[in-house]
Amino acid sequence: MMQTVAETSQSPESSTKQSEDRRWRLVNRTMRLNGNQPDALIETLHAVQESFGYIDLDAMEYVAHELKVPLSRVYAVATFYHYFTLKPPGEHTCVVCLGTACYIGGSAAILESIHEHLGIGSGETTADGKVSLLTARCLGSCGLAPAAVFDGEVSGKLNPQVVVEKIGRWTNHDSDA
């Protein structure tokens, strides 16, 4: 990561340029609503991730500049909290719940089957950028354990076969096209 910092830190961020992009407007709005105060940092990073799907260095520099907090602190907050991701997500995302109820219900086997099928572990994206695999601490859908989220939709009472089939639909569909 440090290497990336050195590589791209020369790129100057300009607030006018960024406000042209519609996606930056949500970010700017969030900062404005919070009075551009340093304590709006987490809210702002949420807005960045919501707009872009992930938080890159460019965004971190911009937020640091606008909220007047050191870049080191922005980087620290973005990496401390599990919800934030610094890597762009794949086309499709599967979040497997690893909460206690899901664990008892066999979510480890589900993860393993995805690993066997796609060769990716938690937090990784397939080489073709099609599928990202994430894990969640608890979705709060314990009544439906084991559960997972497929592109934002929660599915419950899963087993490895169903999950692999659902993910297979993403990859197969795309190879047909």
Binding site: E43, R137, C138, G140, S141, C142, G143, A145
Partner: protein, 550 residues
């Protein structure tokens, strides 16, 4: 705009009349559990079908909060007949509408005359599954915001605190600190600026009570917060809620906007000089932020790391000001206490644990879902009567309460009353209310390892005992489950557990060893089987062959 009691009651009357104007009211659960079984689109289909048949003037279709029995979703409740339908599909929409007024659709009906429903006592969840969480009028029709009116107009802050103290309410976040005492401390702090924070960072895996309350009845939490703010002298509130609960966040924001529009939040509430604003702050997936000082740091936009206490947040909290932090369920208990009196509340529960507790039943149990029972209910009743016992002829092994900070309670304690003291006595805690039931297919060493892995990766890294200790314990547990352990490793684990428990900075570290210690206490033979016989009794752990082990 300020609201008077007459206006409030007027809104309630109009809403009640409106509801009674319908011959049938179809309530579809749109809380997270049922939503993931497509109850949202089911609701739309039902609404479309009702208007297609031209019945919209006498049949009301609305989305409501959690109906409790998550395992049988999507759930649907028909009033005034009182029929509960389970597992409703799109093809059932027509038959259900046709059956209105003639009798239930037998195949779908779920009896409400079973222990799952009859043994519950609803205080916090009284509106869940009854009102539309996205309409403030629905809440007002159920006497909503009347408690706030009473508190502001007819009681002094001191009297409000006295009422809560009389009720014997204790913190529902897990530790069980007396709420009245906490309020008193904050109210006595001398400062013009004070804050009230609602802790909705429900990080315990296996717990979804706070989520359900926020999704089903958000106004109740806001009302509780406003009453608390009046009692302690605060004007600004924050709800710190997990970003992983987008629906709860959305409904909470809707509720705040509605309350502000009506004037039950904002300036000069009910024509008094009391002013209270609430803002939502999103968590970002750090379990440690459930700890109050870490939570405060996170609201301030910093890393969620705890700091030593004292000073407690009651004296030195958000931005250094006196701050009251209570859990969602604690605040949700406040309006009924003010409405019905502390004496009424104290009449429920046991001597030291008053009121009710909401539990999230999950794991190997027939009826998973959300339940609310009086404190002191026997554990066996919860698991076997309300929960319906173990499915597929399994055998009960243990129940885990309190998440990663709690312990596993074995069969011999099934006849124990569930309250703060009894749970602590057997090495577990009340926690926020997750209850995971395990049968013979769960390996207790593996479960302990699961929780230790959780604490290890959620440790914020500030203090050494937690950061290093949890990793060391986890490594030793891995050694055991892979069949590479030596009997002396158990002593090492015990020593480490003791050390982490006594020296960690915050609650996360201090309670992290609990799952290991409780399983060691009650299921030592399983550990022994892994170590000495290289055998996993539950057949969960993949052991190396004995000859590979050095």
């Amino acid at each position: 705009m300020t609201l008077t009691l007459e206006e409030l009651q007027h809104i309630a009357r109009i809403e009640r009349d409106r509801q009674e104007g319908f011959q049938h009211r179809i309530k579809i659960c749109v809380a997270a559990g049922c939503l993931s079984c497509q109850s949202g689109t089911l609701k739309e289909a039902m609404q479309k079908e009702v208007s297609r048949r031209g019945m919209e003037n006498w049949v009301d279709v609305k989305g409501v909060g959690c109906l409790g029995l998550c395992t049988a979703g999507p759930l649907l409740f028909v009033e005034p007949e009182g029929i509960l339908y389970q597992g409703v599909k799109f093809s059932d929409v027509g038959p259900i509408i046709e059956a209105l007024g003639t009798g239930p659709v037998g195949a779908l009906q779920c009896s409400t005359d079973v222990p799952f429903f009859t043994k519950q006592h609803k205080v916090v969840l009284e509106n869940c599954g009854r009102i539309d969480p996205e309409r403030i009028e629905d809440y007002i029709a159920e006497e909503g915001y009347e408690a706030l009116y009473n508190a502001l107009r007819n009681m002094t802050p001191k009297e409000v605190i006295e009422e809560v103290t009389k009720g014997g309410l204790r913190g529902r976040g897990g530790a069980g600190y007396p709420t009245g005492l906490k309020w008193t401390t904050v109210s006595k702090a001398i400062n013009d600026t004070k804050y009230v924070i609602c802790n909705a960072d429900e990080g315990d895996p296996g717990a979804f009570m706070d989520r359900s309350v926020l999704e089903s009845d958000p106004h109740r939490v806001l009302e509780g917060m406003a009453i608390a703010a009046y009692a302690v002298g605060a004007n600004q509130g924050f709800v710190y809620v997990r970003a992983e609960y987008p629906l709860a966040v959305k409904r909470l924001r809707t509720a705040i906007a509605q309350a502000e529009r009506l004037g039950v939040l904002g300036n000069g509430i009910f024509n008094t000089r009391f002013r209270f604003d609430v803002r939502v702050r999103l968590g970002a997936g750090a379990f440690v932020c459930g700890e109050e000082t870490a939570l405060i740091a996170s609201i301030e936009g910093r890393l969620g790391k705890p700091r030593p206490r004292p000073p407690y947040p009651a004296e030195y909290g958000l931005w250094g000001y006196p701050t009251l932090i209570n859990n969602v369920e604690t605040f949700a208990n406040v309006p009924p206490i003010i409405r019905k009196g502390g004496g009424w509340f104290a009449g429920i529960g046991t001597e030291k644990s008053k009121g009710t507790k909401v539990f999230a039943l999950a794991g190997r149990v027939s009826h998973t879902g959300l339940i609310e029972v009086p404190m002191g209910t026997i554990l066996r009743e919860i698991v076997f009567d309300i929960g319906g016992g173990i499915p597929d002829g399994g055998k009960f092994k243990a129940v885990q309460t309190g998440g990663p900070s709690g312990g596993c309670i074995p069969e011999q304690y099934l006849d124990m009353p569930v309250d703060y003291e009894s749970l602590a006595k057997v090495g577990s805690i009340m926690g926020s209310g997750g209850m995971i039931i395990m049968d013979q297919s769960s390996c207790m060493v593996d479960v302990a390892k699961f929780f230790m892995e959780f604490c290890m990766s959620e440790s914020c890294g500030k203090c050494v005992p937690c950061r290093v200790g949890t990793t060391q314990i986890y490594n030793l547990l891995c050694k055991i489950t892979s069949g590479a352990a030596h009997p002396s490793d158990l002593d090492k684990i015990e020593e480490l557990c003791d050390l982490v428990k006594n020296t960690a900075l915050c609650g996360l570290g201090q309670t992290a060893p609990n799952p290991v210690m409780s399983t060691l206490q009650y299921f030592r033979d399983e550990y022994a089987a892994h170590i000495e016989d290289k055998y996993c009794p539950a057949n969960t752990c993949k052991m190396q062959l004995a000859k590979e082990v050095v």
